[in-house]
């Protein structure tokens, strides 16, 4: 994978997510994640180690930009890790499943994005639910969060269809090998 291209794509995806999120959100609490679609795309095409590091980097970006508002809404806390770990687990799952997937198929990216998002959100909810037990700065209600995040995951999968139509032809730009007989190796 050509890392500068991935970093530029990540910059664009996270920037668009920050700027557009409330314009494309569905209901008060659900929005697609362009960043997680990018992570899924990379996990579908890139070498294993590249995909895992890409997921960690994207997850760290999302973690740093997020914040949990404390009770009374006078402060907020940023937690580094939940999204990064979730995205890495999701990417690992996609890496495991991609041998069974026709990557160029228009539905491959949405299906894998759904799996990756669900896993990412499960890890995020798990981390915050645990943390909420002893950290007064985190006010977290797991069940509504799970529902909202499931809707967000479905919405991300829907958004992955048009994004996939744009991204799949760009595989060579990222340095991904599009032939099935040859595998990229090495860092």
């Amino acid at each position: 994978m050509i890392w500068p291209v991935f970093i530029a794509a990540l910059w664009l995806a996270v920037g668009l997510e920050l700027g557009l999120r409330d314009s494309i959100q569905f209901g008060p609490n659900s929005a697609p994640s362009l960043t997680l679609i990018l992570v899924t795309y990379v996990a579908l095409w890139a070498p294993r180690l590249h995909a895992l590091y890409a997921a960690l980097i994207a997850g760290v970006c999302l973690d740093l930009l997020g914040a949990q508002v404390a009770p009374e809404a006078t402060a907020s806390a940023t937690t580094l890790g939940p999204t990064a770990l979730g995205a890495a687990l999701g990417a690992f799952t996609v890496l495991t499943a991609r041998a069974m997937v026709e990557r160029a198929n228009v539905l491959a990216l949405p299906a894998m994005a759904l799996a990756l998002c669900v896993l990412t959100n499960l890890v995020v909810v798990f981390c915050y639910a645990i943390k909420g037990l002893y950290d007064p700065a985190v006010a977290f209600n797991a069940m509504p969060e799970l529902f909202d995040r499931l809707v967000s995951s479905l919405y991300t999968a829907v958004a992955a269809v048009p994004v996939g139509l744009v991204m799949t032809p760009l595989a060579r730009l990222f340095g991904f090998s599009t032939s099935t007989g040859r595998r990229s190796r090495g860092w």
Partner: protein, 287 residues
């Protein structure tokens, strides 16, 4: 593949372990990671800000109306704000005099200065509901003590965290903004009924009137009257009553919708107390 103790493959489990520790460590221990957000937001701003402005132009936060009526309404709102604040100041001074006479110490009113700020983005997770204003620590913004308003009198939300060049605002229409004590202003601008409002998550707030109230109608202005919020923000407009209902216990419920879609504003004015000692403490109680 590079081999050796620092090869990417060997580093990966170590990085994941570190992230696990960070993910579960209390926020008081890992609070310093927020500093890493400053360069990240700086790098992302060239994409997020123009996209946000374009989106705001395509779907303005202000509810559409005749521009002349909107202008007149804005002037009326400004005048009513000044009047309501003056009334409240008089009441506070009266109370202060009474308390001083009783030998109690009263914190003086906290004066505030206004700083214009562009909204440069939102948090990627809609459940957090945070909007990011392009002013921060270097402009004197204080977390928990600074409020964001639109058009000078319409409450947008409260700043919950500040970094060097940006600050995060939780809009009043987000459920995590918590309970807000407000005053439903009746036809007589000097009086009103106290209400406790909570965001419904659909852009409105709702709540019960604290006392049995008569004369509450759709269209009446609702203003902030909450001691847990900074003094400089008292009596700013939360929105207008869009629904009035009655509960079984004879109490009146109101639904309030802000005049602005506060989660989608493109610019705000931050009202920063110039005397932070006079501002309410975090977690201050309702009156």
């Amino acid at each position: 593949m590079q081999r050796g103790p620092l090869s990417p493959k060997r580093l990966l489990p170590f990085i994941i372990m570190v992230l696990c520790v960070f993910a579960l460590a209390p926020s008081s221990v890992t609070g310093w990671v927020e500093n890493a957000r400053v360069p990240l937001e700086f790098v992302l701003r060239p994409v997020a800000h123009p996209v946000r402005q374009l989106a705001a132009k395509a779907a303005p936060a202000e509810r559409p109306s005749d521009p002349r009526i909107a202008d007149l309404q804005e002037r009326v709102d400004q005048e009513l704000l000044l009047r309501a604040q003056a009334e409240q100041r008089v009441e506070r001074l009266r109370a202060m005099v009474a308390d001083l006479q009783a030998g109690l110490t009263i914190a003086p009113d906290a004066p505030a200065r206004s700083v214009w700020a562009s909204i440069v983005g939102v948090s990627p997770d809609p459940r957090e509901g945070i909007i990011i204003a392009g002013r921060g620590d270097t402009d004197g913004v204080l977390a928990g003590q600074t409020v964001a308003v639109a058009r000078g009198v319409h409450l947008v939300g409260r700043v919950v965290s500040v970094s060097a060049r940006s600050s995060r605002v939780i809009p009043i229409t987000h459920p995590r903004a918590g309970l807000i004590n407000a005053m439903v202003m009746t036809d007589d601008p000097t009086s009103g009924f106290a209400a406790q409002l909570i965001a419904e998550g659909d852009g409105t707030l709702s709540g019960e009137l604290v006392a049995s109230a008569e004369g509450v109608e759709v269209g009446q202005t609702v203003r902030l009257a909450d001691d847990a919020w900074p003094a400089s923000s008292q009596m700013v407009v939360i929105g207008r009553v869009t629904g009035v209902g009655h509960k079984d216990n004879q109490r009146i419920t109101v639904t309030v919708r802000p005049d602005f879609d506060v989660a989608r504003v493109s610019e705000v004015v931050l009202r920063i107390p110039t005397d932070p000692a006079g501002a309410p403490s975090a977690g201050g109680g309702a009156p």
